[in-house]
């Protein structure tokens, strides 16, 4: 009724190529941004921001990175956590070893380091595809975690291999409170998400999708396969690297290489599968599902089942429900939450009429 594009005529290609061509969508996005930037820091308490919203944003960013590689360019990867580790440890070392290094530049350098490593481990993609490539990226996962543990230089020879993130400071302003960290993370995530959207709607994104859908035809059109695939690895690893740096600096504070293990890579992969492969909004929905749902279930179990089951059973019950929900959503819509979201919008355009 209210979500309708009737009467909104595009008279230029520029207007037709906007990210959100429908006015109502634009208003909706502005509202979400306003809530995220203004209302959330005012209304939510520190626990919510620190333990739930910040990790949600950081994992959204990592999922976004993986989605560029797997969803758009079609290259399956199981190394996302390792690239996050590269980002975290590289940023730490840039901060440590370069005097007066601004934190944002350190994040960018962390991301770029991850991109370089990503290109190196993306080289096998030129010859192998699909599951075989996934196994090759598994090598990245194990090798990077091993290298960061083995060579003390990366963790500044700390005995346990643990690094403690330095204080974040921009132009003298110290990011100490949860709200300030949240706003910093949010700004970075919003900017990078916008850049990702711009890439996938430009010729780079079309080249990625072309290589994903039909590589021979892509080559014949004049797309350089090698260049395109490696660029996808680089951009994806950059996003994961920045996410890793934020994970260390804005969320955990002290991290060790083992924290970026295969479990975390799988978690990020699940996020894009559930959220929607090849969709920007899907990365956010998937991260919300994986990060927020267990917490919601936890609260529910605590509230409703308190005293009915012994704690050992109720905590397992939570995992059962979580697994069940994953299966449920994948059966309902194998293309993920993003597709459900799109179908919902499509329905809303006609509502309350049947056709």
């Amino acid at each position: 009724m209210f979500y309708r594009e009737a009467g909104q005529f595009k008279t230029t290609y520029l207007a037709d190529q906007q990210i959100f061509p429908i006015t109502q969508d634009r208003i909706g996005v502005l509202l979400i941004l306003a809530v995220a930037f203004v209302a959330v820091p005012m209304l939510f308490n520190e626990y919510w921001i620190k333990a739930i919203l910040i990790p949600f944003l950081i994992f959204s960013l990592a999922a976004l990175g993986l989605n560029i590689l797997t969803g758009y360019a079609g290259q399956l990867s199981l190394g996302s956590a390792a690239f996050m580790a590269v980002g975290a440890f590289a940023s730490y070392n840039f901060m440590l070893r370069v005097d007066g290094m601004p934190i944002l530049i350190a994040f960018v350098c962390g991301g770029l380091s991850a991109a370089v490593v990503g290109i190196a481990f993306g080289l096998p993609s030129l010859r192998i595809k699909g599951f075989y490539l996934a196994v090759a990226t598994l090598a990245a996962q194990f090798f990077i975690v091993w290298a960061l543990t083995k060579f003390g230089w990366f963790s500044n020879y700390s005995s346990s291999g643990v690094i403690t993130a330095q204080e974040m400071q921009i132009f003298g302003y110290k990011f100490v409170t949860a709200e300030s960290k949240y706003l910093l993370v949010l700004s970075i995530v919003v900017l990078l998400a916008l850049a990702a959207k711009n890439m996938v709607r430009s010729s780079i994104g079309r080249a990625w999708m072309a290589v994903r859908d039909m590589d021979v035809a892509a080559e014949v059109i004049g797309i350089r396969i090698m260049h395109t695939k490696l660029l996808a690895f680089a951009v994806s690893s950059f996003y994961c690297g920045v996410a890793g740096a934020l994970y260390a600096y804005a969320y955990i504070g002290t991290v060790e290489p083992e924290g970026f293990n295969l479990d975390l890579s799988f978690k990020i992969l699940f996020m894009i599968i559930i959220g929607g492969v090849g969709s920007i909004v899907g990365a956010f929905l998937g991260a919300a599902f994986i990060v927020l749902l267990p917490i919601a279930l936890d609260v529910m179990v605590q509230e409703w089942l308190h005293g009915i089951f012994p704690p050992s059973i109720s905590s397992n019950l939570q995992l059962v429900v979580f697994g069940g929900l994953i299966i449920f959503f994948l059966i309902v819509e194998p293309h993920g939450l993003a597709r459900l979201w799109q179908i919902g919008k499509q329905k809303l355009r006609l509502w309350p009429f049947p056709h």
């Binding site: 230029t12 290609y13 520029l14 037709d16 190529q17 850049a195 711009n198 890439m199 430009s202 010729s203 780079i204 079309r206 080249a207 999708m209 072309a210 994903r212 859908d213 039909m214 021979v216 035809a217 892509a218 080559e219 014949v220 059109i221 004049g222 797309i223 350089r224 660029l231 090849g278």
Partner: protein, 261 residues
């Protein structure tokens, strides 16, 4: 075919031989293509017709022979090089990008002409936004030309076969090629769809002067629209000439109809 003038030879293939292990796909084949002409390649299944197209645009690299395109002689083509030189093609089994819309598929056809670099595209400043609009105009011209306006925002996977073939032609035309390689553009189509496709091919040839090399099994179509025909059988060339010459060639008749023993 008004106003169209067949020009000089622009593609000259000399003694092309292509083997896959012990299988000889093409043996010592030579033929040429003149500018602005419609050149057909025919032959029974497995004769090596698609391999021939793959050699021309560099997907396959022949073991022997030379390829001369626009005066430049090479041992082999590379797909990227062929695209940059203005050779576009369609495939026998539709090779569209299934997850993308018609518009994005056709826009992809212009990729070699888009110059904005990575950062410009990510931030969408400078050339990036301008190019998107500029190339969209060209793409819309192609979409108008092939009469697929109504489906421009549909993902190609959802389109019927005949329209997918047309979208693939649109993607090839978007590159404004000087030479168009068509691999069975009318396979699996009904009579009306075939007529449409013939009309489009002739219009492309006539209006844009595009040279066309086409593989087709429908002999009526081949004899009607092509200027010259080359006939392959078991990887060897058995006939070459105007449709009339080929039709009366004993070897060709034998290959198609068999010989009495």
């Amino acid at each position: 075919m008004s106003g169209r003038k067949i020009g000089e030879v622009i593609l000259d293939l000399q003694n092309i031989s292509l083997r896959f292990g012990g299988v000889k796909a093409l043996t010592n084949i030579s033929f040429d293509v003149r500018e602005h002409e419609v050149r057909a390649i025919i032959g029974p299944n497995g004769a090596g017709k698609s391999s021939m197209l793959n050699v021309i645009n560099g997907v396959y690299h022949p073991q022997e022979g030379r390829i001369n395109f626009r005066g430049e002689e090479r041992r082999k083509m590379e797909p990227h090089m062929a695209a940059m030189q203005g050779i576009a093609r369609t495939f026998q089994n539709i090779a569209l990008f299934k997850g993308m819309t018609v518009l994005d598929n056709v826009m992809t056809g212009r990729i070699t002409k888009m110059k904005a670099n990575f950062l410009e595209q990510a931030i969408r400043i400078g050339r990036a936004g301008r190019e998107e609009v500029e190339h969209r105009k060209k793409v819309e011209e192609v979409i108008d030309f092939l009469e697929i306006q109504h489906i421009r925002k549909t993902p190609v996977g959802r389109l019927p076969y005949g329209l997918q073939k047309r979208v693939e032609l649109a993607r090839a035309l978007a590159a404004e090629p000087s030479m168009l390689l068509l691999d069975e553009p009318m396979a699996g189509m009904n009579v009306e769809e075939k007529q449409d496709m013939c009309r489009f091919i002739l219009d492309v040839n006539d209006q844009f002067g595009t040279t066309i090399v086409l593989i087709e099994h429908d002999m009526g179509v081949v004899m009607d629209i092509s200027d010259r025909v080359v006939v392959l059988d078991y990887g060897k060339k058995i006939g070459d000439g105007t449709p009339d010459e080929v039709r009366n060639n004993q070897e060709v008749i034998a290959a198609y109809l068999g010989v009495a023993h």
